[in-house]
Subunit: 142 residues, 2 copies
């Protein structure tokens, strides 16, 4: 369907990391799980404290920073744009474009339930095309 | 239109780097231009020799590697999946999914003309939705 929701395409496994972890440790997490971001969660409150992405680590590597000691908390993004799992995928795509971001943590009633990335949305594209073709009757009966 | 081509949505500015550059240097290129990959081009033949991504650099940071000296040529991906600019965007999306990749260098007749990323495809999604709605007449006259 055209109004597919975030819930239909998001990744349900969310990787979190402590703000005290180092740039090297988060790079290891990214490499191990083939992921591009991790969410930083406050261990006391379980609240979302920030997001750390490959680009953030890249900026540390690029700078004159000791990546074996610099902590995630010092370079993560604190203001995180999130989306509700019931939002439509086109709302999510528009939000990513507006904020120039590639990942949206999915939060329902304050609880982290998944993450939506440009990769999730790309994998959904061929299905969307079939929806159009069906709407036009070109795939009728298939 | 539904059969939008790679040429319509790709990024035309392609960043290239020398195979002799270090992990730190490529991280600096990524950070400076807010990009996630660079193409490695043979300086003698101008042929595409490989691609280096944030994930590749991340794996070096994660390992016990001296990132200030390790060269891009030693950890880049040599077998590069490319696409023609006249291919459709759904072909591109399917190719990315098949190979679990997020970027496709666009090559026409052996010449590098652009790069297509999951971000380009995501930015295109809202337009695709409008195409569906128009096909259904819900946006007729708009």
């Amino acid at each position: 369907m055209i109004e597919q929701s975030v819930d239909d395409v998001m990744t349900r496994t969310v990787h979190t990391i402590d703000a005290e972890a180092t740039a090297c440790e988060v790079a290891r997490l990214f490499a191990e799980h083939d992921i591009g971001s991790a969410l930083v969660v406050d261990p006391a409150t379980d609240d979302l404290a920030g997001i750390v992405t490959q680009s953030d680590v890249m900026a540390q590597v690029a700078g004159d920073v000791e990546i074996a000691t610099v902590s995630v908390g010092s370079f993560m993004t604190r203001s995180v744009v999130t989306i509700d799992s019931s939002a439509s995928i086109h709302e999510a795509a528009a939000l990513m474009r507006e904020h120039s971001i590639r990942r949206l943590p999915v939060v329902d009633d304050g609880e982290l339930v998944g993450i939506l990335t440009t990769t999730n949305l790309t994998h959904y594209l061929p299905r969307l095309r079939n929806t159009i073709l069906r709407a036009r009757g070109e795939l009728a009966g298939q």
